[in-house]
């Protein structure tokens, strides 16, 4: 056994280096994307890049604070942190500040704080604590529901604040449940639901139902099995019908107009190419511009601070949600691929480290961290490149914003702290 590692404080330097690389590269892209007017100083706090530098310094303080606390603290106080976080989300309904249509911010003078960002690590901690509890058996429906409520509570609160993007991130915690042993058919159900949903929107509910019926009939009559469960087949069929029409209803009645448009455009529901072009220009204006910026970067990009579309502010919200388009334009395929690879490596590294843990709490939390990072990575970069419908959430470590940077720093470094203690006997 490695003595030094067992007795001392051992950070996983690979993760730390990737984290540092992403934050620094992110900072330079924010500098490029938000550099307007006269350049006074790197600490010019009227500009996003100046503020981001301060946020980065702040996150250094946070890191030293997190690492200096005893690892056990996080498990013990997980419930407290969770409750505090939920209270801060509820508090938004009373004194929240609305920005871009979402009531997700507390405002202190000039500074704003977004509690939903912090709710992510708090939920991950609470979930880890609950599932790792000796009395919990996640294979039981009762415990699944309780754990589900832990996740659903912040998700619903955030949805009510009109921040659908962040809500989706909580969905990624499904990976945690799955890893910890919920039955396989949950996954099957999830995959079916996605296929069903897309098919319904693309080809209409009736067509989808018809196809399901045909498949089930085929299955019933042509596959020989030991026991023919006609009732089961019928039940599946009825459920599917409900789900299909449910999806259609939700699309038409629950989703807001802009969400419908985004999904509609993604699925290419409009057939007329001219109208499609017009939709691209109008509805997904941001996406269109961001794709153009990325495309114009070519293989090696136009160079740092030399992106013409970045300079000309052609991509709205470029220093926040669309920061990846700056990478694409100025650093080209080469730079963008490195960023993608860094994210993939970081997430995989965290998953790997989590799997190494004997402590269930650390493993579950690690999985939670990886899932949350993955959700952001998938949704943000996928959106900026037009692979998934437009959903506004930040790219971890890259997008401008103090709450986001700090929340992701806490998320990752609590895990690294737990990891550094992995071999200590608790």
């Amino acid at each position: 056994m490695n003595v030094s590692r067992s007795t001392s404080f051992q950070l996983d330097w690979i993760a730390v280096i990737i984290f540092t690389g992403l934050v620094i590269f992110g900072y330079f892209n924010i500098l490029s994307a938000s550099n307007t007017g006269e350049f006074i100083s790197y600490f010019d706090i009227t500009k996003p890049y100046g503020k981001q530098l301060i946020f980065i310094l702040g996150s250094l303080l946070l890191i030293s604070f997190i690492l200096s606390i005893e690892a056990k603290f996080y498990e013990r106080f997980a419930s407290i942190l969770y409750i505090g976080s939920m209270l801060s989300l509820i508090g938004l309904f009373i004194v929240g500040k609305q920005i871009n249509g979402a009531t997700s911010w507390y405002s202190f003078g000039g500074l704003t704080l977004q509690p939903s960002e912090f709710a992510k690590f708090a939920t991950a901690l609470a979930l880890a604590k609950y599932i790792s509890d000796l009395q919990t058996n996640i294979k039981e429906t009762k415990d699944q529901i309780r754990a589900g409520i832990l996740v659903a509570l912040p998700a619903v609160l955030i949805l009510l604040q009109n921040d659908a993007g962040s809500t989706l991130v909580f969905g990624s915690l499904f990976f945690v449940f799955y890893r910890e042993g919920i039955p396989q058919y949950y996954l099957l159900f999830g995959v079916c639901l996605i296929i069903l949903g897309i098919s319904t929107l693309k080809f209409s509910a009736i067509a989808t139902s018809g196809v399901i019926a045909a498949v089930l009939v085929f299955y019933q009559f042509f596959f020989k099995r030991k026991k023919k469960k006609l009732k089961g087949i019928i039940a599946i069929f009825i459920c599917s019908i409900f789900l299909t029409f449910g999806v259609q209803w939700a699309y038409n009645e629950v989703l807001q107009k802009h969400q419908q448009d985004r999904i509609g455009l993604w699925l290419r529901l409009e057939k007329d190419p001219l109208k499609l072009q017009a939709m691209k220009r109008n509805i997904s204006y941001n996406l269109n511009e961001s794709e153009k910026a990325i495309r114009s970067g070519g293989a090696f990009g136009k160079g740092f601070m030399d992106g013409t579309r970045t300079k000309g502010k052609f991509v709205p919200e470029q220093h926040t949600d669309y920061i990846f388009s700056t990478v694409g334009e100025e650093w080209g395929f080469f730079g963008s691929t490195i960023v993608v690879l860094l994210f993939v490596l970081l997430i995989l590294r965290i998953v790997y480290l989590a799997e190494q843990h004997k402590s269930q709490f650390s493993r579950i939390y690690g999985y939670g961290v990886a899932s949350i990072l993955f959700a952001h990575f998938l949704i943000n970069i996928g959106m900026v490149m037009g692979l998934i419908p437009t959903i506004g959430i930040p790219l971890p470590f890259f997008s401008y914003g103090g709450s986001g940077l700090w929340a992701f720093t806490i998320l990752v470094f609590i895990f690294l702290k737990l990891d550094s203690n992995r071999l200590n006997v608790w």
Binding site: G181, E291, G298, G312, F314, V340, A370, F374
Partner: protein, 621 residues
């Protein structure tokens, strides 16, 4: 499975993203092109177009400002079209026509919507233009002609058309390019190179500074001034003499090949092709199918040379030693040849003709004999003809001359092969093609070729390629123009010919055209010509042709004049030539009566004859 699901999905996602990046940035994107980035505005700075001076440094062509309304169709937003049209003083359908043309060219690149705004319109419009997104004003420089002469020589500039743009990517729609005359032949010298500034735009189409601190910007390189060989006073005088006539004058300085004047009649004022009325005026000039003012007659009107060609026939015969200076012939008023006793009429008056008097009285019989001797020198007429043809071509006939003029015609000097093809089953001989001996038949020349031939005779055996360029600012002119081109005729044979040409003035067909104090050598010419009226070949009044050089010793000017349908050579072309020679050598004209006669003479009725629809007579019969 439970352990690898997230692992797998993360890797899959990463692969998808890199695939998408590859698609967007490598597969779909062409190499980044600064010129094609709509975040970058290209602003061109047009250099000063070079000025044009004449040989005596008097300014002929300068520049003046002009204001063009530009449009970038993609940036145009809904506008009040009626108001905009009122501002521009155009009709709505015209506006739409121009706008759509610009859009077809490129929705993204700027095009000229309306060129050449007057200063007043510009002042009025520039205040209001802010309201119309996508439109702006570009100041440009257009030509300012300081003279009303020499339109055919100076040429004009106009907006480059799509053909020009295709040929040379330097030009964009709306750029000006030389279209005729010196403006074409020295386009690259005159225009310079436009400068370009790359300006970073923002999403609101505002300029936010130079792209990369102007690292790619270029400064305009101004066009070079040039002097042309034209003597503008002589040119103006030539145009005056040729008024109400169709034809051309080409005057060359034999000792250098410089073109002293290049008159094409009728001419037009070059200022007509500047400004907003340009296209109206152009159309008018273009559609004048009788006078064809846009055609440079001195360069492209091919015609039979007539009698001046006899001089070459004589030189060739001397060189080939088929006649000598003493060879003489009795002219009976006609030349009888061939088995069937065919005849060629002669108007020399008859009697004994030697070389000298044959030239001065333009005796057809004598040159028919000389030509026949020449072609019958060898057994094979084709071979003889080839040799003859080579001699003639050494005077620059039958070729483009390699000059620096934008247009020209080769003319035609037949050789043996030419007739072999024409008469494949028939052994042709000298008598078959005897008309060539008097400059008719298959011979075709342009006035500038005639003038060059005259210069070669004046120089006794060599010529310099005629050229229009005298000097270019800080640049050498084509060295080809400084090297003499030898003819194949021995210099000693020129003496008797020049003497004969001198006698044309002293006692011959041009004796009434003498200019006191100047020894002129010349040769008259008359060329039959035909047209088709309603599909029927009809003969028209002969062309009046004249060549001359002066003074006899150390010639300063060699000239060829063509007056279409002017009847015989001495009648109009000869007079014009004499007056031009006097004007050039003395600086003023003493033959006032002759001058008045020429200036006042109009041949308009002659030109209208074929269009009258009635039968007409020719040659004053």
């Amino acid at each position: 499975m439970r352990k690898v699901l997230l692992f797998g999905i993360v890797i899959l996602t990463g692969a998808c993203f890199i695939g998408r990046l590859f698609y967007l940035q490598i597969y779909e994107s062409s190499a980044y092109d600064l010129n094609n980035d709509n975040a970058i505005r290209k602003v061109f700075h047009y250099p000063k177009r070079g000025y044009i001076y004449d040989r005596n440094d008097s300014l002929l062509v300068a520049n003046q400002p002009s204001y063009d309304v530009m449009v970038i169709p993609r940036e145009v937003e809904t506008i009040d079209t009626i108001m905009f049209c009122d501002l521009l003083k155009i009709e709505k359908h015209d506006f739409l026509k121009y706008y759509n043309r610009a859009k077809r060219y490129s929705p993204r690149l700027p095009s000229v919507l309306l060129p050449h705004l007057s200063k007043e319109d510009y002042a009025f419009l520039s205040e209001k233009l802010r309201k119309f997104k996508g439109f702006y004003i570009q100041k440009r420089s257009v030509r300012d002609y300081q003279t009303s002469i020499g339109a055919n020589v100076l040429g004009y500039i106009a907006e480059a058309n799509s053909k020009d743009i295709k040929k040379d990517a330097y030009y964009r729609l709306g750029d000006l390019i030389g279209k005729q005359g010196v403006e074409v032949s020295y386009e690259k010298t005159l225009r310079g190179v436009k400068g370009v500034k790359y300006i970073q735009k923002d999403i609101y189409n505002r300029d936010i500074g130079a792209y990369k601190e102007g690292a790619f910007d270029t400064l305009p390189i101004p066009g070079k001034d040039l002097n042309i060989t034209i003597d503008s006073e002589l040119q103006a005088y030539g145009e005056l003499l040729m008024q109400n006539k169709i034809g051309g004058i080409v005057a060359i300085e034999p000792s250098s090949g410089e073109i002293l004047s290049l008159v094409s009649a009728p001419s037009y004022n070059p200022n007509l092709l500047v400004g907003r009325q340009r296209s109206k005026n152009y159309t008018k000039l273009y559609l004048d199918s009788i006078h064809r003012p846009l055609i440079d007659k001195g360069l492209v009107r091919m015609h039979e040379p007539g009698s001046p060609f006899k001089v070459l026939v004589a030189l060739t015969a001397l060189e080939e030693k088929v006649i000598s200076t003493n060879t003489s012939l009795f002219c009976s008023g006609q030349y009888v040849y061939g088995k069937n006793k065919r005849t060629m009429q002669c108007h020399c008056g008859g009697g004994y003709r030697n070389l000298d008097s044959a030239i001065s009285y333009s005796c057809n019989s004598y040159f028919a004999m000389a030509f026949r001797n020449n072609i019958e020198k060898y057994d094979n007429s084709s071979k003889s003809m080839d040799k003859w043809s080579d001699h003639i071509k050494s005077f620059g006939l039958g070729s483009f001359l390699g000059n620096d003029l934008s247009v020209g015609k080769k003319g035609n000097i037949p050789d043996g092969n030419y007739y072999d093809k024409w008469y494949p089953e028939f052994q042709w001989g000298a008598t078959t093609i005897i008309s060539n001996s008097i400059g008719q038949g298959e011979i075709l020349v342009t006035p500038i070729q005639l003038a060059n031939m005259t210069a070669a005779i004046a120089n006794k055996g060599f010529y310099f390629t005629p050229h229009i360029i005298k000097s270019i600012e800080n640049e050498q002119i084509d060295s080809n123009f400084n090297s003499p081109k030898q003819t194949t005729i021995d210099p000693k044979y020129y003496e008797p010919i020049i003497e004969g040409m001198h006698n044309v003035y002293n006692k011959g067909t041009a004796s009434f055209l003498k200019v006191p104090g100047i020894e002129i050598c010349g040769k008259t010419g008359t060329a039959e010509n035909f047209t088709k009226v309603d599909g029927v070949r009809q003969q028209l009044t002969d062309h009046s042709i004249f060549i001359a050089f002066a003074p006899k010793e150390n010639p300063k000017i060699a000239i060829a004049v063509l007056v279409e349908n002017g009847r015989y050579g001495a009648r109009w072309a000869g007079r014009v030539a004499s007056l031009m020679i006097e004007k050039y050598i003395k600086g003023e004209v003493s033959l006032k009566r002759m001058e008045k006669l020429v200036v006042e003479k109009s041949l308009e009725d002659e030109y209208l004859k074929p269009y009258s629809g009635k039968p007409f007579k020719i040659n004053d019969q």
